[in-house]
Symmetry: C2
Subunit: 102 residues, 2 copies
């Protein structure tokens, strides 16, 4: 449970609703979103850097512009994405996540 947050009621809806999220600001003023990704392949662009925590589910991630490989993340793991970049995901199982804008 996150206590004392300011929650925006309206959802963000992407990819025909296969990716959705809601924004909130925690009690320390940090902007975050909680979201769900259904199985599929997606590309996201960042403005701020992001920390992605996987609450449940399983996905593979490829960060762009780096000599990186696809990495798999599941419940309890997290990854960071640089500002002004993009990342590809392949969602293997319905993924519930928390994104913190850094």
């Amino acid at each position: 449970m996150e206590k004392d947050v300011d929650l925006l009621k309206k959802a963000n809806i992407y990819y025909d609703g296969r990716v959705t999220s809601r924004n909130y600001t925690d009690k320390n003023g940090v902007v975050k979103s909680l979201g769900i990704m259904l199985p599929g392949e997606y590309i996201f662009n960042t403005k701020a850097a992001e920390k992605m925590e996987i609450i449940s589910g399983k996905l593979e991630v490829l960060l762009s512009g780096m000599e990186s490989n696809w990495e798999t993340f599941s419940m309890g793991s997290e990854f960071e994405v640089p500002a002004n970049s993009s990342f590809e995901v392949k969602v293997d199982e319905i993924t519930d996540y928390c994104c913190t804008y850094l």
Copy 2:
């Protein structure tokens, strides 16, 4: 924006993720959830009575056990469902909603 709420991070996931929601408690102690329904047909059971506010989207609703007909709801409209009952929905357009447990 709903200020000073306690937000449960883990999502509720139904119907293979085509219906998802997150629970929170508002600053007056009222329990609510914010959710998304993707197009499809679903049945939900209630324990507490519920007020459903449609933030965006469009769906048809049939309350059970009443001499009622299918009724259409869209952005800005709301309906109430009695406790210990059920309702059927046909989601025509991705529906973003807020449910208040009465």
